[in-house]
Symmetry: C2
Subunit: 203 residues, 2 copies
């Protein structure tokens, strides 16, 4: 206990955050002493609210401060399309594009037998219920192209195969602006398999 | 405002910390939602206390939760030696060694005409007062070997030259375990100048 207790506690708390080691935590704690009271007050309030105010939307399972999130409540959006994602963070990624106007469904993970995550641990039942009850025309599966992602996508499409709904998957391939030197073999293989005909004349 | 307000506020607060950008702040905020309530409570309490409970020791100016810090209060320490450091953080560095048993004096900066930091902005008057009032035998100046550090060391030794006190400066040179390839020229020059005679026979 070299620092006063409050500073030691702050260091311990900062150290709990992802990617923060002893040195960074110490730097942050000492910096905190110099922060404006306003910021400290906001920090204290947000931390105190983090667990209590942030709930999950009862429809799509995204983070929300109300029972139903602003996206699900928004009448201006296309309520016939659901984009299925792994985490709430992914919703923000799609929202940042700005062009997607449909709804979301947050699975809260991907099927992974190795980590003992089974379909019943994910929000798949609620997705099927939505398709039965809402007028959904298309389900876009937007999970990462890993073994877990592919397994989850396959499972969901199996579960939905007798429903009257289009199931699609986001395209995988070489990302825009990527240097070809750094594209891995698997991505390149996928990009080759999923190649698009760009012939301008008719065949 | 893509996340609920509480999460956005948390992201903003984390972003204020040194070395934390948008992405890390987002990761930390989402991680916070999963933290144990216990840790959150400690975090909230420590943040709230940071500005109110942490004071400066009235003698040495180190961080303290009481008027006089535990080091100054410790009768078991050598009250005849003062180690002069730049910041409270440096006190911890010396305390970690474990072998130094004297007292400290935290300057809260170094003289820097370029940054408009003058001697009167530092806790130098209180240091001189201590030397006049306490029975100090030695003042060890332990600031970094930069232009600011050297200027500060010179200034303090000038101010103390008519006092009956030994003034010393910590040694500078090649650090232990350093690869000679990576030691800069200035450090090497200093190490050469301050070389020690290790001849075993008497001259």
């Amino acid at each position: 206990m070299l620092y006063p207790e409050t500073i030691n506690n702050l260091i311990e708390c900062y150290k709990k955050l992802p990617g923060i080691g002893e040195k960074s935590a110490e730097r942050m704690a000492l910096y905190t002493l110099e922060m404006d009271q306003e910021i400290i007050d906001l920090f204290v309030q947000s931390l105190a609210d983090a667990k209590t105010k942030i709930k999950r939307c009862k429809i799509c399972n995204n983070f929300s401060q109300e029972d139903i999130c602003p996206i699900c409540r928004n009448e201006g959006r296309n309520h016939q399309v659901i984009c299925v994602v792994e985490e709430p963070k992914n919703v923000i990624q799609f929202e940042k594009i700005g062009s997607y106007k449909g709804l979301y469904h947050v699975l809260d993970g991907l099927i992974s037998p190795l980590e003992n995550i089974n379909p019943e641990d994910l929000n798949i039942t609620s997705l099927i219920k939505r398709i039965d009850e809402e007028k959904i025309k298309e389900v876009i599966i937007a999970v990462k192209p890993s073994i877990e992602g592919e397994t989850t996508a396959l499972y969901i499409s199996k579960m939905l195969e007798d429903k009257d709904v289009i199931i699609s998957k986001i395209a995988h391939g070489v990302p825009l602006g990527a240097d070809m030197d750094y594209v891995d073999a698997l991505t390149l293989e996928l990009a080759l398999e999923e190649r698009k005909n760009i012939t301008s004349h008719e065949e």
